[in-house]
Amino acid sequence: MKRTFITFVVAGLIGLSLAYSAGIVLAQDQAKIGATTKIDTGDTAWMLISAALVLLMTPGLALFYGGMVRAKNVLGTIMHSFIIIAIITVQWILFGYSLAFGPDVGGIIGNLSWFGLNGVGLDPYPDYAATVPHQVFMIYQGMFAIITPALITGAIAERMKFKTFIVFTVLWATLVYDPMAHWVWGVGGWIRKMGALDFAGGTVVHISSGISALAAALMVGRRKGFGLEPMAPHNLPMTITGAAILWFGWFGFNAGSAIAAGKLSANAFVVTHIATSGAALSWAVAEWIYKGKSTTLGAASGAVAGLVAITPASGFVGPMPALLIGLVAGILCYLGVFSKNRFGYDDSLDVVGIHGVGGTWGALATGLFASKAINEAGENGLFWGNPGLLGVQVLAVAATWIYAFLMTLIILKILDWTMGLRVSEEEEEMGLDLSQHSETGYNF
């Protein structure tokens, strides 16, 4: 009895000491980091707000897309974006963040040491963000991981099986988004080491989703009745509302990518607004010239095209280049949406034409107009005497096109064999709302 009691007390003391020393070691590591960088309340406040702004973009996207499909598919379309928030959040905190931003393995991917946010604490992690808690950086990046797969859903609208879509989302995030984010933004990532500039996600978000959308549209196939039946948007006021929310939230997407509140975020905010306005105008004018009238859908689409194009450039270019980037984006993407007519693929909501084309233009424009005067941590572009940057941007764009396209094709091929990609013909006729979710969007 006495021996048992003493054994337990000694064991308990040893255990406590071990735990205490381990705690001190960890605290020292953290303290070392904390000792060199201090949390800035202004930066942290801005980043928390930016994360919330970027989150809001996903429901905004849901409305943008939802208004453009037929009424029988409005809930199915909204559900795509909405449920992605939940799915990717869990994937991100379990292993997505670790793969994307964790300790580098061969320049290709992060390791899993941050599984379940292990080691991702509230002190800053200066490699990424010196003045905000590490978890703030993590959650901010998580919002990007959420919206990127949501963008792809526009290409497969009105015909994809819900179950397969969920599995596709997790696979795409893990096999395409996380590696790409690591290549471009992760410490040790090979595209980052190559010197390519992508301030807020031209390659990682827009080109990758745009080109994956092309692969998806080709794999899933055209909607029943495409080209024969009218498939007009059922609720453009909803679409314009969504576009406005996207514009608002994008300030968090671009200006938040400064990871600080100050001159760089101010630049990103201002040039984002300028480029978007320019693109909305140029799309509207292009429409006027080609079709005789400017449409609200065109103005909204132009704005989104501008937002996409300025994304990689927002921390590197000034106001006048931003205006030019926007004006060109509006016209290029307007012409881009016609390519689906020429090649015959059913990219239902023009993800390729807007995100693929817009993101590519933005990445190349960064190579033209980047200026170290705006951002010392960046580089000069072609018009500031450095053609090298443009070359590197081209490589980054090409790598994104090839990898995202092929990987998406492979994922979808496997899912096609195992689960099937499309709903049945009757389900497609009935509409996704009823067939996939047993709901009707409008019960007047």
Binding site: A232, E287, K293, T295, K340, D350
Partner: protein
């Protein structure tokens, strides 16, 4: 008893209703319909897609009246609904076999 069925331009509905009450027609059924005759539809453009929408919105008015007033009712509607431009619409007269007032059970012209 006859049913007078008129397809008219939607903005003419109030005028026709007022004109009909002036000739003592108190009840009617109104439906929103779409159709076309000689009137062309319109074009809608959504990004790269252009649609020609042939079906034009119209309003259908149905009134059931005693035989003696049919001609007067038809003339009243035609006069009120006319603009002189294509798409003014059409009026049809159809025989009615029976009419019943649900509340009282009255039948025939008394039910109208």
């Amino acid at each position: 008893m006859k049913k007078v069925e008129a397809i008219i331009k939607p903005f003419k509905l109030d005028e026709v209703k007022t004109a009909l009450s002036a000739v003592a027609v108190q009840g009617m059924t109104v439906t929103e319909v779409r159709g076309f005759g000689r009137q062309k539809g319109h074009k809608e453009v959504y990004r790269g897609a252009e649609y020609v929408v042939e079906l034009v919105p119209k309003v259908k008015i149905e009134v059931v009246v005693p035989d003696q007033v049919v001609t007067r009712v038809v003339e009243t509607i035609a006069k009120a609904a006319k603009t002189g431009k294509i798409g003014d619409g059409k009026i049809f007269v159809i025989p009615v076999e029976e009419a019943v007032r649900i509340r009282t059970g009255e039948r025939g012209e008394g039910a109208l």
